[in-house]
């Protein structure tokens, strides 16, 4: 292979390139250059040939020129001094009579990406803006954006900016769109290109001339335009209306987004726009490219948050094909859950049942979860399916079913009997931590009705030494104690063993503390234990919003529509009933200004703030200041327990859940001795948002009460 003898080859190529015989023989010279480029593509470091290649760019052969430029642009940063030599040739090419050569030279001059060379580039660029060939103007316009990216601290000449504004009226549509793109980049700090009425109307009128990319660009820039009057607004809307039905998905999506932002004050118009776009959206969800299908599905999920009824009758479009990749199946399953209604529930459940045995574990778990969430509002058929699945004796299915059952009975206690009868015959062994946790929870809660409960628990307690998961152990403690309350005779002995083990031999602090807590609680008398342990048996009715969400306002997500974010949301929630696999995500420096979306913050997992520093910052905050932070937490529709676990993963400790209309953390009414205060801090860096958080114990509770600080956790 050529790259084994890398150095040798480079030396040989250098000899060849500087050989006058080869230089005069056009064909051989070009072939040598081809070899250089091929080596470069293969990852061989051929930067040593830079000076030879510089000479090769003075040629009339445009293909050779292109190749040499590719080479030069790749290695310019390694050879800044030698690059200066290229500038001359490039500048000469900029006045070539052939517009192809001119545009090529101009483009590559900027692509060298050497801040030091900018001064030589500006003059040809200025000339390029006035060039009579459109292809040169296209390049020149973007060239200014490149200069701006190279020298972010130097301002681009106001005259140039004006000229760019002028070129928005260029006859060539690509020049116009490139102008928009360049101005967006150059004026980023001022909030992008200024869209006044004449510009907006000009852009709208020329929209049809642009290609798909151009139209999407123009439509997204127009979002910033605010029409002066209602009449103007409706004129624009009726002009754009046909585009909502465009079968170019990007155009339809961009138009829809523009509609949503223009009509943010007119919810009825938004809804009718969504309804207009339903057909194309459904078509996109059936697109032949799986990536586009996935993007469409993620966006449909977004829409359904506000308009749950939007796709109701089209549920069949979201049936999974056998060969579809898991990520598509999982988003389809999530959509299907949203589309369930009285008429189709039986059919959808039948379909979902088929997915439960999918080869992909994640998909089958997603389907099981889906059946569980349908079960919250619809009959026991779901329960029949779920308990039927237990008979398959497939480890991952059983585990998912148990978790789903746990979540289900927590919300709908009336299913208790059915769950008990399903668990009555339990004799399996489970390896999965989550599944075992769920099983233990169920045993604890229904210990009085399950005749076998103490014996299953006994198996667990006998194996507690080899148990690795702290989560399972705490769950085991609670379950044992609960069963003890209803069946003391059978449980007392093993509970003693368990407590002894956990208190004396356990290394995990949480488990040990839990055991100690229970031990002391038992000393207080059985009535207290009952009060503490059995109050959590029934769900709090005020938790409704966590389960059946009311429709969100469209504005909640309109700003992220048609961007990358819905896909990230989809990726982190697809099939992840299991919060431990949640990945917090970061998106820095939006192409849209970040200010439009203050709700998006990312908890930093490794907090670097020392307690002292935190206290100092804490005291700086003014008294009475009301801090409110929204943490975008991708755990939709899950049980409070899972939400809590998910929050713990991002270092947020939840103390309690309060009903929606009450003040969170009722500190002022019952001041405890130790108050744990939490604060989400947002340190503003250079466009990078960092969120630090810290939990401290504050002894001076009296004073802090008045500041009324809390974390408001809104699941979204």
């Amino acid at each position: 292979m050529p790259y084994l003898g890398g150095e040798e080859t480079v030396r040989e190529l250098r000899r060849a390139l500087s050989n006058p015989h080869i230089q005069t023989d056009h064909l051989r010279y070009r072939n040598t250059i081809h070899r250089v480029i091929r080596l470069m593509s293969q990852g061989v470091d051929v930067s040593g040939l830079f000076s030879e290649m510089v000479k090769a760019c003075a040629t009339g052969d445009i293909v050779q020129k292109k190749l040499v430029y590719v080479f030069l642009c790749s290695y310019a940063s390694v050879n800044p001094e030698l690059s200066l030599l290229v500038i001359n040739t490039l500048r000469k090419d900029c006045s070539d009579p052939n517009p192809m050569v001119r545009s090529l030279a101009l483009r590559n001059m900027c692509n060298l990406r050497l801040p030091g060379l900018c001064e030589y580039v500006e003059q040809p660029l200025t000339a390029g803006l006035k060039d009579k060939a459109a292809c040169v103007r296209r390049v020149a316009v973007l060239g200014w954006a490149k200069i701006h990216a190279l020298l972010p601290n130097t301002e681009i000449d106001a005259a140039v900016v004006n000229e760019l504004y002028g070129l928005l009226r260029d006859p060539d549509p690509v020049v116009m769109v490139n102008c928009l793109r360049a101005l967006e980049e150059i004026l980023e700090e001022e909030g992008g290109v200024a869209i006044n009425k004449p510009i907006a109307h000009h852009l709208l009128n020329r929209l049809k001339e642009c290609d798909v990319w151009g139209q999407s660009e123009v439509l997204s820039v127009l979002q910033r335009y605010r029409p002066r009057s209602e009449d103007e607004l409706f004129d624009i809307l009726s002009l754009l209306d046909p585009a909502l039905l465009s079968h170019h998905v990007p155009i339809m999506a961009a138009t829809l987004r523009l509609f949503l932002s223009l009509c943010s004050m007119l919810p009825a118009v938004c809804v009718s726009a969504l309804e207009r776009a339903r057909g194309p959206l459904l078509a996109a969800a059936g697109s032949s490219s799986r990536e586009l299908r996935y993007a469409a599905l993620c966006h449909i999920q977004l829409l359904l948050r506000s308009e749950p009824g939007l796709m109701g009758e089209h549920y069949k479009r979201f049936y999974c094909g056998y060969a579809e990749p898991p990520y598509i199946k999982q988003s389809k399953i999530q959509v299907l859950v949203e589309l369930v209604n009285d008429d189709n529930v039986a059919v959808v459940l039948d379909e979902l049942k088929g997915y439960c045995t999918d080869v992909n574990t994640e998909t089958s778990q997603a389907a099981i979860n889906a059946i569980g969430s349908i079960g919250r509002s619809y009959d026991d058929r779901c329960l029949g399916i779920l308990t039927g699945l237990l008979e398959l004796k497939q480890e991952h299915i059983t585990s998912a079913v148990l978790q789903t059952l746990r979540d289900l009975v927590w919300v709908s206690p009336q299913y208790g009997d059915a769950v008990c009868s399903a668990l009555e015959k339990w004799e399996d062994q489970l390896q999965d931590t989550q599944g075992r946790g769920a099983l233990l929870w169920l045993l604890g809660v229904y210990g009085d009705r399950l005749s076998g409960a103490p014996y299953i628990l006994e198996d667990f307690i006998d194996g507690v030494r080899s148990e690795v998961s702290a989560e399972v152990k705490t769950e085991l403690l609670t379950a044992t104690l609960r069963v003890f309350l209803s069946r003391p005779a059978e449980t007392q002995d093993m509970m003693g063993r368990l407590l002894q083990h956990c208190i004396e031999e356990e290394l995990d602090m949480c488990v040990r503390d839990q055991a100690l807590l229970y031990y002391r609680l038992l000393h207080c008398g059985i009535e207290d234990v009952r009060r503490v342990l059995q109050c959590g048996r029934r769900s709090d009715l005020s938790l409704g919003p966590l389960i059946g969400r009311p429709p969100e306002p469209i504005s909640q997500w309109a700003s992220i529509f048609n961007t990358l974010e819905p896909l990230m949301l989809g990726a982190s929630s697809a099939g992840n009933s299991d919060p431990s696999t949640l990945t917090p995500y970061t998106l820095t420096s939006h192409s849209e200004p970040m200010t439009s979306d203050p709700h998006l913050m990312t908890p930093n997992l490794s907090s670097t703030l020392s307690p002292e520093e935190f206290e100092r910052l804490w005291l700086q905050t003014e008294k009475g200041e009301f801090l409110e932070a929204y943490v975008m937490c991708p755990v939709p529709r899950c049980s409070p327990e899972s939400l809590q676990v998910a929050l713990q993963l991002v270092n947020i400790q939840t103390l309690a859940f309060t009903a929606p209309n009450k003040l969170p953390w009722k500190i002022s009414t019952t001041p405890p001795n130790t108050l744990i205060l939490a604060e989400v801090l947002q340190a503003g860096g250079d466009g990078v948002k960092k969120v630090k958080e810290e939990l401290i114990e504050d002894q001076e509770n009296e004073r802090e009460e008045s500041t009324n600080t809390h974390i408001l956790i809104t699941p979204c």
Partner: protein
């Protein structure tokens, strides 16, 4: 949308060719791509978008290549995917087959194309018809490449250049309909739709003005005529040459066609049709010993039509062995690498019914792994027939030189995603 860089990788994650458009993301980030993908694959949670630090990878897979775009902005994801597919489309038109070898053999053209397709992360000239005018594979050979600017870059009609000449002026119209069908295990049709395309092969001189007439229900309703069967189309999508405003106002499809082959329009029809080839199957599995399969295929289309190259693919357990087949027509074979029994019938007349029996042995030690229940799939094509009944009623060709041109029309119906779930 803004893309920082575009990479073409082989299946081992080695960069075959790349282009750094913006320079705001380190090119070495791509080294994280394949490891990320591998972990996701292991966990069974692959996703077309992945993240490393603040870099997002948006990727698609084509044959033995990964096409990856990186970005650190919250750019429009579907537009990025659309661009990657555009890359595939353009490359395929250049090299007929886009795969590792064709990229390596044509790296000069690939570099040239990458240069023209996008600048500073923004798509520029993406129409392959235009690109082919000034980036040619011959350019890579000795003769000095064409250096004139193509007229189309500034032309009013960007998809057709002027001065095209043919001795014989002809247009070939292909109407192709594919049927997507999903039938569940108890034999009821869950969903079925028809996706149709109208393809053109234009061999016409000059700047001809074409008008295509279809038996479109909306058009007939508009003009108040009612002559026989009409078809109502949904999701109609046109090539950019079609004047959309005219279509919207009076449903006329008028256009100046691109030269050579192109896809003029596509549409979808949601009406339920009788499945053209109906499959009934009985799959009996006797654990530890054998599987018996009986498949009955029935042609539910007109007697005078014939379906060609019918292929019924029946899934069999992965540990099956010693296949035995008996068919009333055609022949059947076992494809162990795909766990399929494939029954091929070269020609299948309408209204007929055929039978295939197969039996496989199963090992006495059973495979523990759970297997999915793959559906039975059917491939076929029926020429001279459209399932929706769509027809080309006329094709008017007007050119200022006034030549006579002949339109040729061909119809074909084929299987799309044609699945029947089985019970085994």
């Amino acid at each position: 949308m803004s893309v920082s860089a575009v990479f073409v990788l082989d299946l081992k994650g080695k960069v075959l060719i790349c282009r750094n458009y913006k320079g705001d993301v380190d090119m070495a980030e791509i080294d994280h791509f394949l490891p990320l993908l591998m972990t996701e694959e292991e966990e069974g949670v692959t996703c077309p978008i992945m993240m490393h630090g603040n870099v997002h990878f948006l990727w698609i897979k084509h044959t033995n290549l990964y096409l990856v775009a990186t970005t650190n902005k919250n750019s429009n994801a579907s537009l990025v995917y659309a661009f990657l597919y555009k890359l595939v489309e353009v490359f395929t038109e250049y090299f007929t087959e886009l795969e590792e070898e064709s990229i390596q053999d044509n790296f000069v053209v690939v570099y040239e194309l990458l240069d023209e397709l996008m600048d500073f992360g923004f798509p520029q000239t993406t129409d392959s018809k235009i690109l082919q005018e000034y980036i040619t594979q011959e350019g890579a050979k000795l003769e000095v490449a064409k250096t004139k600017v193509p007229t189309t870059v500034t032309n009013a009609v960007s998809w057709r250049s002027e001065g095209i000449k043919y001795k014989k002026n002809e247009v070939f119209i292909d109407v192709i309909e594919s049927i997507n069908l999903l039938v569940n295990a108890n034999g009821s049709v869950m969903s079925s739709d028809i996706v149709g395309t109208v393809k053109l092969k234009t061999m016409l001189s000059g700047m001809p003005e074409l008008r295509l007439g279809l038996n479109d229900r909306a058009l007939f309703a508009l003009t108040g005529r009612d002559k026989g069967k009409t078809v109502s189309m949904e999701d109609v999508k046109f090539h950019q040459c079609v004047r959309l405003s005219r279509f919207e106002s009076d449903r006329t499809i008028s256009f100046i066609p691109p030269d050579g082959e192109s896809e003029l329009m596509s549409y979808r029809i949601n009406t339920h049709v009788k499945p053209l080839i109906w499959i009934e199957s009985v799959i009996e599995k006797f654990s530890h010993s054998r599987v018996e399969i009986m498949v009955k295929a029935k042609g539910q289309f007109k007697k005078q039509s014939v379906a060609n190259n019918v292929e019924v693919r029946v899934p069999v357990p992965s540990d099956a062995d010693s296949p035995k087949f008996k068919t009333s027509t055609g022949h059947a074979k076992y494809v162990p690498e795909k766990n399929l029994a494939v029954w091929t019938i070269k020609s299948f007349p309408g209204g007929k019914e055929f039978l295939m029996r197969a039996s496989f042995g199963l090992p006495s030690v059973e495979n523990d792994e759970m297997e999915g229940k793959p559906p039975i799939t059917v491939n076929f094509e029926i020429p001279y027939f459209t399932v929706s009944g769509i027809q080309v009623r006329y094709m008017k060709i007007i050119e200022k030189s006034g030549y006579q041109a002949l339109p040729w029309v061909r119809y074909i119906t084929q299987s799309g995603d044609y699945q029947l779930r089985s019970n085994f």
